[in-house]
């Protein structure tokens, strides 16, 4: 680079760099992770979801029992609720709803984003 060259402005350089990298502007949204899900990772994730659902459900039931003195009935009820929640989470993971809880209105968001692999 010779001394006589006028130096290009930094904004110009930044714009050219962005273009070269194929990046779009700041507020663009693309789908998330670039890591493809692997079989083992998926299995592990499904396992954790299931176990966590049951454990959390049973735990809540146990705490409510301690509080209300209704042992063991709420624990039994919440065990099944926890199992259902675990299965729901597993379904959401496998069906590719990403890791979102709650529901998406149909059509608003396509269930394409896979979420990260484990």
């Amino acid at each position: 680079m010779s001394k006589h060259d006028p130096r290009p402005s930094l904004e110009d350089l930044d714009a050219r760099l962005r273009k070269a990298r194929g990046e779009t502007s700041e507020d663009s949204e693309s789908d998330g992770s670039g890591v493809p899900p692997s079989g083992l990772g998926m299995a592990f994730r499904v396992g954790t979801e299931m176990v966590a659902g049951v454990v959390v459900g049973t735990g809540i039931g146990w705490l409510l029992d301690q509080w209300l003195g209704t042992r063991p009935w709420l624990m039994v009820v919440f065990f099944f609720i926890g199992a259902a929640a675990g299965m729901l989470n597993v379904y959401r993971t496998v069906a590719g709803f990403g890791l979102a809880a709650g529901y998406r209105p149909p059509g608003k968001d396509q269930p394409e984003d896979k979420g990260p692999e484990d």
């Binding site: 700041e26 507020d27 663009s28 949204e29 693309s30 789908d31 998330g32 992770s33 890591v35 592990f44 994730r45 954790t48 979801e49 176990v51 966590a52 659902g53 454990v55 959390v56 459900g57 809540i60 919440f78 609720i81 926890g82 259902a84 929640a85 675990g86 729901l88 989470n89 990403g98 890791l99 979102a100 809880a101 709650g102 529901y103 998406r104 209105p105 608003k108 968001d109 979420g115 990260p116 692999e117 484990d118």
Partner: protein, 252 residues
């Protein structure tokens, strides 16, 4: 192998779970609570110091054309920035400092834990659960501030008849509460399983004598896998934080 031999070799075999022991380095007690400085605390301090040094020294010269070190520091910044942009969108910008700190802390704790004789902070469920609980509480508070009581609509799927609510709402609530548990369990289980496995195979090396070359080969392969797991789990924790944040901000 008879009993005497077992005893003889027994002292060489590393106990696979010994590495997870918490040792008090400096006993401190405040108000009847044990807040001693342990080896876990020490390695957290080491991780934080390493991150700080890595970033501040890397950016010390802040040259326009970065050197290798500065390049790494900038890469880690850009990685998290783009992760946040892709998963949360423009509003996610405000939470960058937290997410970046979280990622760097996890990455460095996981990586430092792979150095022989080092302690892996993230192999303790209480550490990962504390981090997950912070994320969970923070995200919930953000959602309630942003959407007010509308947040609780989250637990009742749209288009469901009202008489189904008593069944569905508890399920949704439990499924929501299970989030920090899965988040914590995943990181903890991966780190602990990996490190235990390394130690178990290391024990075989001594026992097998000359044939110990075979387990050494396995350890090398496992170690490579562990490096991947260390980075990947830090990434997974961070991306899940981003996704939860995005949920809280946009609330489908």
């Amino acid at each position: 192998m008879d009993f005497r031999e077992t005893q003889k070799y027994g002292s060489y075999v590393a106990k696979p779970l010994e590495q997870f022991e918490i040792k008090t380095l400096m006993p401190i007690e405040i108000g009847g609570m044990d807040v001693s400085f342990t080896n876990a605390s020490l390695f957290m301090v080491i991780a934080i110091t390493a991150v700080t040094l890595f970033l501040t020294l890397g950016m010390r010269r802040h040259a326009l054309v970065p050197g290798r070190w500065q390049s790494m520091a900038e890469l880690s910044y850009e990685f998290i920035a783009s992760l946040l942009r892709d998963n949360v969108g423009k509003e996610g910008r405000r939470y960058f400092p937290f997410v970046f700190t979280l990622f760097m802390f996890l990455l460095f704790s996981n990586a430092i834990g792979l150095i022989p004789y080092a302690f892996t902070v993230t192999s303790h469920v209480i550490v990962t659960f504390a981090l997950a609980a912070v994320v969970f509480l923070g995200v919930t508070v953000i959602a309630i501030i942003k959407h007010g009581l509308g947040f609780f609509r989250f637990f009742l799927p749209p288009g469901v008849p009202l008489y189904m609510a008593p069944l569905l709402v508890p399920i949704e609530v439990v499924s929501y509460l299970a989030r920090p548990v899965t988040l914590a369990l995943r990181l903890f289980a991966n780190m602990m399983a990996g490190h235990t496995m390394l130690k178990v195979f290391a024990g075989f090396v001594v026992l097998l004598g000359f044939a110990g070359i075979a387990p050494i080969a396995v350890i090398i392969a496992l170690y490579g896998l562990e490096v991947i797991v260390a980075v990947l789990q830090a990434y997974v924790f961070t991306i899940l934080t981003c996704l939860y944040l995005s949920d809280a901000l946009h609330l489908h």
